[in-house]
């Protein structure tokens, strides 16, 4: 168990170090390969290149969206940043420290500051623990609010996420999906984190409930000044709550831009297609859409060069040659495409 003193110091340190707007988290060349074993001796016969050399920065207090099709590596990236899965390569610099280099014990202190909210509100809560156990566990691990104060703090957290303190003694299966997601949020908040990875927190929820959770997250983010990496499928939601958006495809970043900029002025053919594919809830608007051909290729053998070229309507021969680097094409707007002549 971590010494409480150490935990507090490190927390205090990092809190003091950055101001709003300064870089809190920097991801450099992050990679995660899942080996595929096969054959007689179960040797590694290939790799799923789930996250393939991605780099980006998050400023303190910023909400950044991470979108992309299923299998593009969003979850893997999020978890690798938190070292819930060990990255294969690259650095994750949090508050000036490369957390990928930390030992397990050291890492534990940093866990207080980096939290995660999961997509599936049913799988992410231990069905055998009461709500207070679930939320209290975080405090217990880091020895926060010991004694009577802990219960009060749990009650406070529950209220903060829109539940009632009486719910404390209940078990997760007694809650609806939206309520469970609130519990998950309360758990993440229990340790007073600076940074939260929200992995599709609303995808599994009913439409009418989604807005509740989105609002809640937005309120909390503002109130606590959290830095959030918001992973989602749904571009509309991401655009709505994020300051900036990172678009991923097949383990690589295609484009990074502020929300409105991305929406109004996508620079990458993939972003363009993604935007065009999203249906608009307005029957009066009839758009011409760009329909991508085929499916996302296998991450085991991604296409050479630009991974998107196989489905790109602007692809040229050169696209197969080099992996396009992520370039800043306008202030704060990056894209990984060699063609500047289109879009």
């Amino acid at each position: 168990m971590t010494a409480p003193v150490a935990a507090r110091t490190s927390a205090a340190d990092s809190r003091g170090m950055t101001q709003k707007g300064e870089t809190l988290l920097e991801v450099r060349n992050l990679e995660k390969y899942f080996p595929i074993r096969g054959g007689l001796l179960s040797r590694v016969v290939g790799n799923v290149k789930a996250v393939n050399d991605i780099s980006f920065k998050l400023a303190r207090g910023e909400v950044v969206g991470l979108v992309g099709e299923s299998g593009s590596g969003k979850t893997t990236a999020g978890r690798a940043i938190l070292r819930l899965i060990e990255p294969t390569g690259g650095e994750v610099i949090f508050n000036g420290t490369d957390v990928t280099k930390l030992s397990k014990g050291q890492m534990r202190d940093y866990r207080r500051e980096m939290q995660i909210i999961f997509q599936d509100p049913f799988a992410s809560l231990n069905p055998r623990m009461t709500v207070s156990d679930i939320i209290g566990e975080a405090m217990q691990i880091h020895n926060l609010n010991p004694g009577k104060g802990r219960i009060d703090r749990i009650a406070e957290l529950l209220q903060k996420v829109g539940l009632r303190p009486e719910h404390m003694r209940r078990y997760p299966h007694e809650f609806s999906g939206g309520q469970r997601q609130r519990i998950g949020i309360a758990r993440a908040l229990a340790v007073d984190p600076l940074f939260i990875v929200a992995d599709e927190p609303v995808s599994a929820l009913d439409v009418s409930i989604q807005a509740q959770v989105v609002n809640l997250m937005q309120d909390l983010q503002e109130e606590l000044g959290l830095t959030v990496l918001f992973i989602a499928h749904d571009l509309a939601v991401v655009e709505y709550i994020c300051d900036r958006i990172i678009v991923m495809y097949l383990g690589r970043i295609m484009e990074i831009a502020p929300s409105h900029e991305l929406n109004n002025n996508p620079k990458h053919p993939y972003t363009e297609a993604l935007l065009s594919a999203a249906p608009v809830p307005d029957p009066t608007i009839k758009r011409q859409r760009i329909i991508l051909e085929g499916d996302i290729p296998s991450p085991i053998n991604p296409p050479s060069g630009c991974v998107f070229r196989t489905r790109c309507r602007y692809a040229i021969d050169d696209c197969a040659k080099v992996v396009p680097e992520l370039r800043e094409v306008s202030p704060n707007h990056f894209k990984a495409c060699i063609r500047d002549d289109v879009l």
């Binding site: 439409v207 709505y240 929300s259 991305l262 608009v280 029957p283």
Partner: protein, 352 residues
């Protein structure tokens, strides 16, 4: 309801007062409790609603695929005017007659393309099975038809694919196979129960595009069940909104989106950010979504009055007294709310 049957367009399917109940250990679940709507020939009717509001049960009732027990169709009628135009009540058909309708006159595709195909038979076999069942073809011809269908739904190299197993295909491809299977016998009605929910947006766009194209080619009607209002806006001619096992609003798609008359529909429309429009601009204060408070109702424990009353911000004491009637608000637009007139008035004031 007969007044709807008098519509100018030809009614293909009319569901009248359908009640489908499930007898569970904890009591009777009234999943569908007096649902009434109709589908005209060639049109796309979207059914939207909360999870558990009875959308799937309604569609399965039309197919008579409700597991019995525990389910039962406790009342109402489902009038289907098949190819001969003579309306028949599906609820009363024998199982053998029903089998002739299934897959032939009414076909269905489901939400989960990954699990909706039998993993141990090739996709060709599965399509050919439907063809052989309804079209008196031998296996070879049926396989030929299956290949044609695969080509028809835009699967590349259908000759090869026809002999592949579902696990060898991606989700989008499987959903195409499902569509191919459903369309293989030229059904008059295609029921699509959330056909794209499990798919990525880019694939969803492909599938929706395909369905629209095919509908144009074949001229069938589609009963389109979905959560996604964007999809509704894109696909539907008319919309039925369900809540707690009942239809709460029904009408032309534009009407529903522009002038909703039920607080649930309004809440639904306001609770989703619209792409492009609601994008966050840095420096500006963040907008808030208008959330519907509370939880999805427990089907075992519906309130006595309006099912939406506990979550409704317009609720008045009368709401909990009795179930409001589905009232015509004009132009085929119906709503099940005692205060719809107030909303209509407010609407006019705002737009005026």
């Amino acid at each position: 309801m007969t007044d709807h049957a008098t519509n100018k367009a030809e009614v293909l399917l009319a569901v009248n007062g359908l009640k489908t109940y499930f007898n569970t250990d904890d009591g009777v679940v009234k999943s569908v409790d007096g649902v009434t709507f109709h589908i005209n020939k060639g049109e796309t009717l979207a059914v939207v609603g909360e999870s558990g509001s009875g959308k799937s049960v309604t569609s399965l009732s039309i197919m008579r695929l409700i597991p019995m027990p525990p389910g039962e169709i406790a009342g109402g009628e489902i009038l289907f005017s098949g190819t001969n135009g003579q309306p028949r009540d599906i609820v009363k058909l024998s199982e053998a007659e029903m089998r002739k309708i299934r897959g032939n006159d009414i076909a269905m595709i489901f939400q989960e393309p990954m699990t909706s195909l039998n993993p141990v038979y090739t996709v060709g076999d599965q399509i050919a099975e439907a063809v052989m069942l309804h079209q008196d073809k031998n296996r070879k011809d049926a396989m030929g038809a299956a290949t044609d269908m695969l080509r028809f739904v835009g699967i590349p190299a259908p000759e090869k694919r026809v002999n592949e197993y579902p696990h060898q295909m991606s989700g989008g491809m499987r959903q195409r196979v499902m569509i191919a299977m459903a369309l293989s016998c030229n059904p008059a009605l295609l029921i699509a129960d959330e056909p794209t929910t499990a798919l990525d947006v880019t694939i969803q766009a492909q599938i929706l595009d395909l369905m629209r194209k095919l509908q144009k080619d074949i001229g069938m009607s589609i009963l389109f069940i979905t959560h996604n209002l964007g999809v509704v806006a894109e696909m539907a001619d008319r919309v039925v909104v369900m809540y707690g096992g009942r239809v709460v609003e029904e009408g032309d798609v534009i009407e529903i989106f522009k002038a909703p008359r039920h607080p649930y529909t309004m809440g639904l429309l306001n609770s989703i950010p619209r792409p492009g429009v609601d994008a966050h601009v840095p420096g500006t204060p963040r907008a808030r979504l208008e959330a519907i408070p509370g939880n999805v109702p427990n089907p075992l424990n519906l309130p006595p009055g309006c099912a939406f009353e506990p979550r409704c911000k317009f609720a008045v004491p009368e709401c909990s007294k009795a179930v409001p009637a589905l009232e015509d608000t004009g132009g085929g637009h119906m709503a099940r709310c005692i205060r719809w007139q107030e909303f209509a008035k407010a609407d006019h004031e705002v737009s005026a």
